[in-house]
Structures are given as structure tokens and as C-alpha cells.
């Protein structure tokens, strides 16, 4: 019986972001939220391990915003129960503060064989929550997994690094962060969605997991955001046209020589 906990972040749907044209500041209010892409891969992997080896999958989310729709989606994908730390004190929290809250919740929920996270979130992309959790819980961690298998108390993982794949082993309990390529997350059936509405979402405040609010408010952060701006793109966007590929190529070659970027 495997007990797996999956950390789910409700992320900003980055494809729908817009900047305020007068200030260049990014507007995140009103932008749709979704389960962060890689976290969905982590959930899918957890559900597959459960289907193969038996056990239980629970999800854990911490947010200052309502994330129940996202958690409901995770339940439809095959999680058995969702834990939700829904507390406005988490507004603006950095990875130090969020990992403290998540670790508090995990200690309260109980023992797990595996804690799965996405390699990073699709919005902040800090890749810190998994590694920080492993340290707070004092258990092994394997990052960037593209394959995971569990046998008894041993987890075997293939890690995708820049120039190599590394096969590593460690004992459970362990934290594993997964890449997008590990699987294709399922799209839940109508039946699964209906069944999910009967599954439990446990709502907690920070007090319920014995985490003091000052741990997650500004005094507890390591880093604070000063500004979020749309990146400046100043490109010439010169369209090179011609009768045939040879003519286009010639014009382009001349332009590049003039730019001084070739033939130096």
C-alpha cells in the first residue's frame, strides 16, 4: 500500500497574461488559474503508481486564493482526497514561507512513502518547493524525474540532466520532482468527474496545521517582489520577400553581412 502525496499549485494561466500598456506592469488579477502543468504530471504519475501497486493518493495545495475548482479537477483525475490550506496570510508568500506551510500540513496529515511535485511551477518557475520540502522533512530528494518506479522501500528514478540521464535510487519516504515528459496527464471522464464531487476536500487555515501566520507573512519571507514588468521586445521585424527561395536567401545573406553578424 503506497501512500503518495502530490503538491499542487494553482498557477496563473500564463498564456492569458496581459500588460497594462501605460505602465508596462503585468496584470494578474482576473487572469484564469489552473493546476500548474508539471504538477499535473506529478499527479498523473501518482495515480499510475497507485493503479499499479495499490494505495492512496492525496493532494496538497496552499493558497491565498480559492483553489477548490483545481482541487476538484485533481480528484477527478484520480486523487482520493484533497487537502487545502486556504489562508489569506499566504498572499505574496515566497518559497521559504510556502514550503514551511506545506511541511506543516504534511506533518499533520501523516506519513507518506512518496511526495511528488512538478519540477517547477509554470508561473514562478522557481523549482524550489520540492527541494525545500525534502530538507524540512529531512528525507531524500530526487529532482527532474522522467521515470519513476517503486519496489518495496526503494524508489528508482531516471533523472533528465543537461547532458545525461542519471539513474538513481533512494529509500522511501522521499520527495521526487517530475518533468513534463514523464507522462501525458489524463483527461478525466464524465463519470470520474461525477465521482469526484463526492470525494473530500479538507479545508484548513494555518492555525489548523500549527504554522504561525508570521512564518508566512512578510517577516517570514526570504525574498519579496519589487516589480513585475512585461519584457521589452524591440525587434525590427523586417519581412524578407522574393520571387523564389534563392532571391530571399540572397537578400537575407546581404542583410546579415550588413548587420555585421556573419563573415567577421
Amino acid at each position: 500500500m503506497l501512500r503518495i502525496l502530490v503538491c499542487l499549485k494553482q498557477a496563473i494561466d500564463v498564456s492569458q497574461l496581459k500588460a497594462d500598456p501605460s505602465t508596462g506592469r503585468l496584470v494578474t488579477a482576473g487572469v484564469p488559474r489552473k493546476i500548474s502543468d508539471f504538477d499535473k504530471n506529478a499527479l498523473e504519475e501518482a495515480v499510475r503508481l497507485k493503479e499499479k501497486l495499490g494505495g492512496e493518493v492525496v493532494t496538497l495545495t496552499a493558497s491565498a486564493e480559492d483553489a477548490k475548482t483545481s482541487i476538484r479537477e485533481a480528484l477527478a483525475m484520480g486523487a482520493d482526497k484533497g487537502y487545502f490550506i486556504y489562508d489569506e496570510a499566504l498572499l505574496g508568500s515566497d518559497t521559504l514561507a510556502v514550503s514551511t506551510a506545506l511541511a506543516g500540513a504534511i506533518r499533520k496529515i501523516g506519513d507518506f512513502d512518496l511526495i511528488l511535485c512538478g519540477e517547477a511551477s509554470i508561473d514562478g518557475f522557481s523549482a524550489q518547493i520540492g527541494p525545500r520540502l525534502a530538507e524540512l522533512l529531512n528525507i531524500p530528494i530526487v529532482t527532474y524525474a522522467r521515470k519513476v518506479s517503486v519496489e518495496g522501500e526503494t524508489v528508482t528514478v531516471e533523472r533528465a540532466l543537461e547532458d545525461r540521464y542519471e539513474t538513481v535510487k533512494c529509500k522511501t519516504p522521499a520527495v521526487v520532482t517530475v518533468t513534463k515528459e514523464i507522462n501525458d496527464p489524463r483527461i478525466p471522464s464524465l463519470m470520474a468527474i461525477m465521482k469526484a464531487s463526492k470525494k473530500e476536500i479538507v479545508n484548513w487555515k494555518l492555525a489548523d496545521i500549527y504554522v504561525a501566520p508570521e512564518k508566512v507573512r512578510e517577516a517570514g519571507w526570504g525574498v519579496k517582489i519589487v516589480d513585475v514588468l512585461a519584457p521589452k521586445v524591440e525587434r525590427k521585424r523586417i519581412v524578407i520577400e522574393g520571387e523564389n527561395p534563392a532571391e530571399i536567401a540572397e537578400k537575407l545573406a546581404k542583410a546579415l553581412i550588413q548587420e555585421g553578424v556573419v563573415g567577421r
Binding site: D123, Y165, E166, K224, D227, L252, A253, L256
Partner: protein
Amino acid sequence: MSRQSGVWVFSENDDLMLELLAGGRAIATVRNAELAAVLLGSAVESKADKLIQHGADKIFIVDHPTLERFQVDTFLDALTTLVKRNTPETLLVGSTKNGKELASRLAARLEAGCTPDCTQLTVNGEGRLVTKRIVYSGNAVVTATYIRKPQIATVPSRTFEKLEPTERKGEVVKAEVEIEPPKVEVVAVNKVEVADVKIEEAEIAVCGGRGIERKEDFKPLEELAQLLGGQVSNTRPLAEDRKWFTGWVGLSGKKTKPALYIGCGISGMIQHVAGMRDSRVVVAINKDPEAPIFEVADYVVVGDLYEIVPALVEALKKELKK
């Protein structure tokens, strides 16, 4: 704890460590502080001189047989002990995948903040480190600063240019530390054919995307890169979905900032653009006139890469001979 001061750099990648010294030097100068490099490994003392020549005032060395091969578990133990003992104010770590894991775990152990993949580092009026980095899949640049110390940041390769080496004096400190046996055991390592090992350093980058139907069709791109003395790379789907390569250019992969970037059959997903936006001149070749890559290109070619790329090779051969 004594007052926190000093700027430290560490990377398991020797080249990246030299680049970090350049970034660290600027911060150390503003803070009127010492710049130190951390050298971990087995029989690594010979590397100390080069680090001093590239800007380090001090080298902390941990020479330990268990550090012969890089592993986050063991290197983290050594680094944590050194940081706790010597209390630097700022620590820059090279942004490799392992480097980011190391920095995050170190931050957790020290209850510190950590900012990953910083593309700019400055110091504000209060003496605190200010970082810039790309978030929201390339849609935003976030500026952040630190509330507590030590201030930990990870920095990707090619963010800073190495300093010119000069003859200077530095102090070498050898430290003894306890290292626990690693919790994670490496059982196999498979090097995979890597087309783009040096894409971060390329002066000219020729990149292929999903518009390339078969791996063999990279040939004209390779020819183009070879002609110009550049490197070939690719987008994430070609590595991870089609398994043609292991690496890629993009937010989650490598960052390239060449003088010339030529994107062939690349749609221009924001994640890919995040890895090439700092290129000086961008050429995009794509059949689809609506391809988002054209928004971030200096030269837009709407056409079939299978025709344009070979024609460009011929045209450049001709024009460059003149």
C-alpha cells in the same frame, strides 16, 4: 552569529564558476566586501590559482575523497558547513539543474531566500541584493529583493562575461568538514548524444523546431551552422517528445544569447523564446505567416525551411567570398 559579510560563488561547472566571479566581483565592490570562491572536490587545490586570477580574494577548499564526483547530497553538506561557519552575506550558485537543487536545499537549511535563474544582479541603497529574472513562461521580468540573509541567487551561464585573468594574490583556506553518506545513490549515468552542449556559448545559433520532420533533415541546419562557425540546437518537443536530442533552448533548458540566432520551423512558444530573447539579431524562417516567432524576430522569412535554408547556405557562400 557573527556579522554576515562577503560574497561567495560556487558552481560544479568550472567555466560557470569563473563567470560567477565576474558577477560576484561587482557586488563585492559595491559592498566593500571580500569575494570568495568555494572549491569542493578531490585533489582540487590546483584550480585555486585560476579562480584568484579571475577575481577571487579567497578560496575555501574542501578536499575530500567522497567529493570526487559531484552529487548534490555530499556537496550540500560541505557547503552548508562552510556557510554556517563563515557567514557570507551573499551566495551565487551556478544555475545548472543540480545547482538549482543545491541552492534551494541550502536556502531551506539556512531559512534563507533564494532567487533562481537571475539575469541581473544589483545592490540597492540599503545594501541588499536586487535580482531580475524571467517568470510567467517568458511573459514577465520580475524584480525582487531579499528580506533576510544570506541572500542566495542562482545564475545561468553566459549571464556574466569572465574577467580577464590578472596576476593577483589571494588567500587559500583549507577546511575540514563532516560529510554524511549520500541519501541518494547514483547507479547509472547515460551520456546521450548532445547536439547543443555549447549552445550557451555560441556566437551563432541555428535552431530547429517542429517544422523539421525527420532528424536527418537537420543536415542543412548543420551545414549553415558550420559555414558560420556556429552551433545547432532545437526546441523542447524535439528533445522530449521525439527523443532526437537531450537538450534544448528554452525556459526549462539552455539559454543562448548569440550575435545571430536563426530559428527554422520554430513556432515561437513563449517557453522557447525565453531561452533566446537575448540574441542580438534574430532571423525566423517559418511557413506559417502567423507564427509567434515573427513577433520577436528582426528578419522575418515566411517560407519553407526545406527550401530557404539550403538556399541561404548557397547565398552566404557566394556573398562571403566577395
